[in-house]
């Protein structure tokens, strides 16, 4: 595991286009006013403790020392920049969406485009070629005229000012609507910035042999819905000129599936330098907003989260993916929590001759409970950690009374936005790699789950797991 990078885009103006907000606002238009009044500023999003954990300025264990609610206890010296990546403001992200647009789908207002160009000129990961692609923008009248067609989607800033729009890609194709293209452009933009951070940290974009997409988006037209290969679309913007690519699809567990495939490609010798990249989950913006409004708290699902993970040959120092540790949820495994964790955790550890208590930390569904609990969705990481701890009780490794201590020692508080595949286990990768490189940690088990039943094709569950270990050297 050569490197892990993360990227957050703070996009308060885009939340209204998330699946849940767009449906609810359509049913009840006056809701928009209350919705707008609960959007955070960029400074508030940067200072939000879980976001600082996500980009590596805080450790997950630091969150336990931050009083609840976290949104009322900002990190005083919180920064947009972190050791794992950055949190980008919305205007710059809109600029990146335009840079990602090769089909004249995105129109930005000329004054807005000029301001964004000036800002991105100062950004270390943007080039003159990027700024040329951003262009000069169009008049506000042109955007308003475009919106009159009824199928173009507006782009607003946090204050409700119209700054651009996204056009439909085909008059008759339901797979190329402005809604889908806005989503996919945001995925490409966020994934490319995660990958640019990864390349900036580990170098040599041209050395990447293969890119694996781990996101949940669906790219394609009427004849190939979900055709995919977002991986290559992202790599194209990051100097990975020698890389091939393909996407791995497995709902929220897709990114972890892709990491396991990447490890296999490298270990087999087929490729030596593979990057797993996943843009964010646009549709999940504002997914729990009703609970946040009900509790008069800010709408916390206001970020798009992306990740890039570089996997290469053992260099004698980087953490190692144990290829004999891979856990897979099998078709015949069953879908109960017990069955899933038995196949993903217990069986692999039995093969390795390890106890559950010999794993320093488990990385499971890392959703921030401050986001999910107001809407009645519970504390998802804690639920998962308690199930894992229950196995330790059943196996006689700990006493029943020690369950809470097991959760505290081997788990952590959820710090990821509800971003599906980028919330499932992978937010812990950066912290685990850092601690293993510094000798603070020996191992972490990554366990991701996927909800196949959501696509109405099967009632099956899914999941994938692997053990990451500190490199013992001696290559």
């Amino acid at each position: 595991m050569r490197g892990v990078s993360y990227f957050l885009a703070h996009v308060p103006g885009l939340i209204r286009h998330g699946s849940k907000p767009s449906r609810e606002i359509k049913k009840n238009p006056p809701l928009l006013e209350s919705f707008r009044s609960h959007l955070r500023t960029f400074e508030e999003a940067v200072a939000y403790p879980p976001n600082q954990v996500f980009i590596g300025n805080l450790d997950p264990d630091d969150l336990a020392r931050v009083p609840s609610p976290w949104y009322k206890h900002p990190v005083r010296d919180g920064s947009r920049w972190g050791p794992f990546g950055e949190i980008m403001p919305e205007d710059e992200f809109y600029g990146m969406m335009k840079i990602c647009d090769e089909f004249q789908l995105v129109l930005l207002e000329e004054g807005f485009a000029r301001d964004v160009t000036g800002k991105l000129r100062q950004h270390p990961l943007f080039s003159d070629a990027d700024l040329l692609r951003l262009g000069n923008g169009v008049s506000l009248a042109d955007i308003e005229q475009q919106l009159a067609d009824g199928v173009t989607l507006p782009m607003y800033d946090r204050g409700g000012r119209l700054v651009g729009c996204v056009r439909t890609g085909h008059e008759e194709d339901p797979n190329l609507t402005a809604e889908i293209l806005m989503e996919n452009l945001a995925v490409r933009a966020s994934g490319a910035l995660a990958l640019r951070h990864q390349v900036a940290a580990t170098g040599r974009a041209e050395a990447v042999d293969f890119l694996l997409g781990g996101g949940e988006e669906a790219v394609g037209d009427r004849y190939n819905r979900g055709g995919g290969n977002m991986a290559k679309a992202i790599g194209e913007l990051c100097g990975c000129s020698r890389a091939g690519g393909a996407d791995i699809k497995a709902f929220c567990s897709g990114t972890v599936h892709a990491i396991v495939v990447a490890a296999g490609l490298v270990a087999s010798g087929i490729f030596s330098d593979v990057v797993v990249v996943a843009g964010g989950s646009f549709a999940k913006l504002g997914m729990k907003f009703q609970g946040h409004l009900r509790h008069d708290m800010p709408i916390l699902e206001d970020v798009i989260a992306a990740v890039a993970v570089r996997v290469g040959r053992d260099d004698g120092k980087s953490p190692v993916i144990r290829l004999d540790s891979i856990g897979k949820h099998e078709i015949g495994s069953g879908s109960s929590q017990q069955a899933i964790f038995d196949t993903l955790i217990v069986q692999p550890l039995d093969r390795l001759g390890l106890k559950l208590t010999q794993i320093d930390k488990y990385a499971t569904e890392m959703h921030n409970p401050e986001i999910t609990e107001p809407q009645g969705s519970g504390n998802v990481p804690r639920t998962n950690y308690r199930v894992i701890g229950s196995f330790a009780v059943l196996r006689g490794e700990i006493q029943r009374a020690d369950l809470d201590r097991f959760v505290e020692e081997h788990g952590m508080l959820g710090f990821s936005s509800t971003q599906g595949h980028t919330a499932s286990a992978v937010p812990v990768l950066g912290h685990a790699v850092r601690k293993m490189m510094s000798g603070e940690m020996n191992n972490t088990m990554f366990v991701a789950k996927g909800s196949l039943f959501l696509g109405r094709m099967t009632q099956l569950a899914d999941g994938m797991s692997f053990l990451l270990e500190r490199n013992k050297g001696g290559v």
């Binding site: 879908s335 109960s336 929590q337 519970g378 998962n384 009632q459």
Partner: protein, 42 residues
């Protein structure tokens, strides 16, 4: 609650108790599941 001979709508949770597990329980109690779903709340 007595479930015998009752019709039951089951909504399970991925990170809690899944629909099929609840279905197995209510069947053993003599109820008739009419629909079983598992939802993912994240």
């Amino acid at each position: 609650m007595l479930l015998k001979s009752r019709k039951v709508i089951i909504i399970g949770e991925r990170d809690g108790v899944q629909g099929p597990a609840i279905e197995a329980c209510v069947r053993s109690a003599g109820a008739e599941p009419v629909i079983t779903q598992t939802q993912c709340f994240v």
